[in-house]
Symmetry: C2
Subunit: 246 residues, 2 copies
């Protein structure tokens, strides 16, 4: 048990802020399960591992640093830290969009919990590419990572000018809009872009312009709207159920 | 501007804890929009209103107490308090389940954000009754109320022994289970009970026993599971889309 220096604790904690993650090209992954997943599937991304229990991983050739529970709580961004924390290198995914299936586009989704849940849901439905407006919640935010249950590691998430991307996009562009067509009845192409908007404000007018197929989940009660992660799940489900059956 | 006494602040804050809400039969509703909705739709439930801006409501015959922003932050359970806070009387909904449509049943959903989102989603799809195991997150928890966007006020949410309820239930009982049948292909009755389980553990074995129609949302990617609120949304959507079209 070596003991973490104050400076080291401060440095690890600094990665809870986007600016520092951007500057250093690093981010935090927490929890026994997600750290094990990172070591198993993306060992080349893992820079450092801290854990309250000792373990080794065949593909990981660095040392797991044993720390105390108190030290873990000092470096963790979670209310209830869970055994391990790893520091990972960000991958450079500023490359162009090249998915062969449905692409998800997010226009200013703000809440980290929603963002993580959207990534987890998209991963469940086999979406490999998510294009985000620059002001969408950062995938390297600890709360996004936690809510994504590790799905963010597997996906190509690109932050760019959504307007520029859609302006040059030749695929059908679907958008979740209250004035859209009932999604249940209509056919949906397998390939295209599905745009989801901000929690309160929806899809911005400059982005709406590019939507050639507005769709809508019919409501049957008194709620004014659906949570954006739930709406994303329902719409992705609608796309996917047609693949096998229509 | 009268100024809130220390005791009053302490008393209002005490309603953030379930025990005190249960003892006093009161709960907090926060935010300008939700307080206005409560005053409009359920004026008989509203006991006290505190606000940083003055307003009157035709159906509400008590006085809105003007407070400062600092006082609001002292009584609020939210990180970013929003203008108004009201104290409401709980309604006694320990009565028997008497819905004429699909009923949602929750077996130990723990996270208040998930619980609130589930209620908002169920309200969207016209579900009026939710039967919860005793250990499901409290609908009067401030985080549940916030995530439900007021839907919890409109619904009949019953906390009871879920096992006893299902044992005497004569409706078809559906359950979200990994080993269930692909929901896309099969017909679904309009009337019945849909059981959703805990975030980590799913539906408990003693509850599983009563499920006569296990259903499943097919996965196409690598995520191990869906968030429970998203899964609830997708399944309720599957029930509802059949109503108009099958």
């Amino acid at each position: 048990m070596s003991g973490l220096s104050k400076n080291k604790i401060k440095w690890i904690r600094s990665l809870q802020l986007k600016k520092n993650r951007d500057d250093l090209g690093l981010f935090l992954v927490e929890g026994e399960k997600m750290v094990a997943e990172a070591l198993r599937d993306f060992p080349e991304m893992v820079e450092e591992v801290y854990s309250t229990t000792d373990f080794t991983f065949p593909k990981f050739n660095k040392k797991v640093e044993l720390i105390t529970k108190i030290e873990l709580s000092q470096i963790s961004a979670l209310k209830t830290p869970n055994k391990s924390l790893a520091i990972l290198k960000k991958v450079n995914n500023k490359e162009s969009v090249k998915s062969k299936g449905l692409i998800l586009a997010l226009d200013g989704v703000q809440d980290p919990g929603n963002m993580g849940t959207i990534l987890r849901t998209a991963d469940w439905f086999g979406i490999d590419t998510v294009v985000c407006s620059e002001d969408t919640a950062d995938i390297y935010n600890p709360k996004v990572i936690q809510a994504s249950m590790g799905s963010m590691l597997r996906m190509n998430v690109i932050y760019t000018s959504l307007e520029n991307y859609l302006a040059t996009c030749e695929l059908p562009i679907f958008g979740a809009l209250l004035e859209g067509e009932n999604v249940y009845g209509r056919s949906l192409e397998k390939i295209g872009v599905l745009v989801m908007g901000n929690e309160g404000k929806g899809i911005r007018p400059n982005i709406k312009t590019y939507i050639n197929t507005p769709i809508h989940i019919p409501g049957f009660g008194k709620a004014e709207s659906l949570n954006v992660a739930v709406a994303t799940g329902i719409l992705l489900s609608e796309f996917k159920r047609r693949e096998g059956q229509c």
